[in-house]
Symmetry: C2
Subunit: 365 residues, 2 copies
C-alpha cells in the first residue's frame, strides 16, 4: 500500500476536495491543471478531521501553500495500488459475455407495468442492458409511437434520417432490406454513422406472419472467441478501418471504422458488422486478402447456432439492446403476413446514467 | 498498376455491381460475405460492355459460375495500387489544421439569409465545419429556440439531460460553471458522454455584458504540435483512458476515454479536454506521474495565444463547431450584464451527409 507522501503530487492535488477546488454542487473542478505550480510537492502531511469529523489527512502544498484535506476513506479507496480500477461499463471487462446456453433460465426480461412502477424492476432491467446487452420488456402497450415513450423512460431518442422512429414492415419501395420480408443475418445497425447509435429499441405491434423470428448474438463474446481461435484475424479486424456507407436521395452517410473497436488498452468496446453497407476497401492487395479472410472467419463464427439466442416477438414486446455489442437477426417471413415493428435509436450513456441514479437512491434509501 | 486478374478475389467479388448482389435503389449488398464459396477465383476475365455501353470487364467466377461485370472506370479508380485512399472526413488527414494567423482573412462565416436560400452558400458553410471545424453564421434571427432550427438545416438535434437546448447565462443555482460569469479556458463539452456530441451550436441572443468574448482552438493542430514537440507526452495522452464524470441530482454520467483519440492507423480523430470533469484516475503511481506531466504539457500548449482565434458574438450570431476537434473558451464577464446564448448539440455525420448530398446535386446540375 503506497503512502500518501509517495502519491503522485499532481494527481493528488487534482483530487483536492476543498470548495475552492471543486464546486460542491456538482463536483466540477474550479481550476485548470495549468494553474498548479511547477515543482508541486506535499510540504507537510498530518492527521486531521474533515468538517463532519471523519478521520482525514491534511496536506499543505509547496510552493503555493494550498491546504487539502483528504478523508482517510477516500485515500484508502483511491491511492494508487494494485487494486483493479473500475471501468466505465462499456468494455468487455465490464460485461458478462454469453452464448445461448449461458442465458438458459435467465433470459433478461421484465414486465412493463412492474418496470414503470417499481424502481427496483426498472434498475434490474437497465442493469441487464449493461450486463448482457439487452432486455425484453413484455406487455408494453402495442400502440403507435409507444417505442418513443419506452426510450424516454431511461434516456433520449436519437433522431436520424430515418426519423424519430422507423417502421419495420414490408414497404412498396424499401430503401433498406429491413423493410422487406427477407431473412437478415446477425448485424449491427447503422455502422455508416459516427457516432453510431449505441442503443436500439424494437417494439412489436403485430407479428402474425409466418416466420420473422428474432435472434441476438453477443458480438463481444464472438470477438473474444475469434481472438482465442484466430488471433491474426482478430488483430486485422481491430486494425483495418472499413468504409461503411449508406446513400439514398436525401442521405449520404459514411464512416470508416474497424469491425472490432478496442479501447487504448486493447479491450473490446464496439462491434460493427453489416455486410449490406460495407463499401469498397482501398488497401494494398495483400491487406485486402488478409482482411477478407478475417472478415469471413468472423462472419462464419457469428453464424454458429450456439451463439444465437432465438425468440419470437409478440405484440407488446419491446426489445432494448446495445447496438455497439449485440448483433440482431431475423428469419424470413411471408410478405403477405402482418408483421409490424416500430424501432428507435437512443444512447446507452443516458441509460447508464439513469441506472446509476436509481442505484444511488437505493443505496441511500 | 495491378491487373484485374491479380486483384484479391473476395474483395473483387464483394464489389460485384450486379443487381443480384446489390440493391440498385440504395447500393446495399444482398448477400452475406459467408455466402461466397471457399476457394473463390476469377476463372475467366474478358472485355465486355456494361448495360449502358461503357467499356467493362466480365469475370466469371469459380466455383459458383457467378458473372460480374465491372466498368473499366470503376476498376481504374478502385483496383488496389499506390494511390491514396479517401478517408471519411473525420481524422486529421482530412482537415486543414490552423492557428490564429492561419485564419487571417478567411474566418469561416456566412450570412444567414444567403445560407438558407443559396445551396452553394449552405454547402460552403458546412464545408467549413468539416475543413476548419467551425463556421459562424451571421444575422440569424435572435429569437428563442432558433438554435434548434439552425441545427435542423443540416441534421438532427442531440437531446441530453440538459434538454433539447441549454441556456448559457448566469443562473441562480448553476449546475455547471458555464452558467456563471467565470472565465472558461479552452475545453470540449461533455467528455463524460460516450458517444460525445460531435457538434455544438451556440446562438447569441444578447451580449451586452463587459467581457464574455469567445475563443476557439484547433485541438487537432494542438495535438499534432504536441506530437512534434513532446512525442512521449502525446503517446501517453492517446493511451491513458481518463475517467470523465458529471453528476447532479438527476444525472450520473461517466466515460473513460483518452484525451487524444486516434484511429487504428494512429491518426488524430477525437479530442476531449475538460479539466472540470476529470475524475480520479486509477493507475499505477508512475503512470499517474507520466499522465499528469503530459496533461499539463498539453494544457499549456492549448493556452498559447497564437493558437486561439478570438471574436465576440453579437446578437444573431450562431457558431457551429466540431466538438470532437475544436476547444472553445470565453473570457469572464460581469454577471450583472446581459449575456444570453442558447446552445444545442447535434452530430457531424448528419452534417457531412447534408454536405455530400448538396455537392452531389451541384455535380449533376
Amino acid at each position: 500500500m503506497p503512502t500518501l507522501a509517495s502519491a503522485p503530487p499532481f494527481w493528488l492535488r487534482d483530487n483536492c476536495p476543498c470548495t475552492d477546488c471543486r464546486d460542491p454542487r456538482n463536483g466540477q473542478k474550479l481550476f485548470q491543471i495549468t494553474d498548479l505550480p511547477a515543482g508541486l510537492t506535499a510540504a507537510t502531511v498530518r492527521e486531521a478531521r474533515t468538517a463532519d469529523g471523519s478521520p482525514a489527512r491534511e496536506v499543505v502544498w509547496a510552493p503555493d501553500g494550498h491546504r487539502s484535506v483528504y478523508p482517510e476513506a477516500w485515500l484508502d479507496a483511491h491511492l494508487p495500488g494494485d487494486r483493479t480500477a473500475p471501468g466505465d461499463g462499456r468494455t468487455e471487462d465490464d460485461k458478462e459475455l454469453w452464448d445461448a446456453a449461458g442465458l438458459a433460465g435467465r433470459f433478461p426480461e421484465a414486465d412493463w407495468s412492474a418496470y414503470t412502477t417499481d424502481p427496483a424492476v426498472t434498475a434490474a432491467a437497465l442493469e441487464n442492458v449493461m450486463r448482457f446487452g439487452f432486455v425484453l420488456l413484455r406487455g408494453v402497450p402495442a400502440r403507435d409511437r409507444q417505442v418513443l415513450d419506452v426510450a424516454r423512460t431511461f434516456g433520449f431518442v436519437r433522431e436520424t434520417n430515418y426519423g424519430e422512429l422507423f417502421e419495420v414492415r414490408v414497404e412498396a419501395d424499401p430503401n433498406n432490406l429491413a423493410f422487406t420480408g427477407a431473412r437478415i443475418t446477425p448485424h449491427t445497425d447503422n455502422p455508416y454513422r459516427d457516432p453510431v447509435p449505441t442503443l436500439q429499441l424494437l417494439h412489436c405491434l403485430a407479428n402474425a406472419a409466418r416466420g420473422g423470428d428474432s435472434g441476438l448474438v453477443d458480438g463481444f463474446h464472438a470477438a473474444a472467441l475469434l481472438r482465442a481461435e484466430d488471433p491474426e484475424a482478430y488483430e486485422v479486424l481491430t486494425r483495418v478501418p472499413v468504409p461503411f456507407a449508406f446513400a439514398d436521395a436525401h442521405t449520404s452517410l459514411v464512416a470508416h471504422r474497424p469491425l472490432i473497436g478496442t479501447d487504448p488498452g486493447g479491450r473490446i468496446r464496439e462491434i460493427r458488422f453489416n455486410n449490406r453497407s460495407i463499401g469498397t476497401l482501398r488497401r494494398p492487395a495483400e491487406e485486402l486478402d488478409a482482411f477478407y479472410a478475417a472478415y469471413r472467419a468472423f462472419g462464419e463464427l457469428l453464424l454458429r447456432g450456439e451463439l444465437q439466442v432465438e425468440f419470437r416477438l409478440a405484440p407488446g414486446d419491446c426489445l432494448i439492446f446495445d447496438n455497439t455489442r449485440l448483433l440482431h437477426a431475423r428469419t424470413a417471413f411471408a410478405e403477405s403476413g402482418d408483421r409490424h415493428l416500430q424501432g428507435a435509436y437512443a444512447d446507452i450513456d443516458g441509460l447508464a446514467s439513469t441506472l446509476a441514479v436509481l442505484r444511488g437512491k437505493e443505496a441511500t434509501a
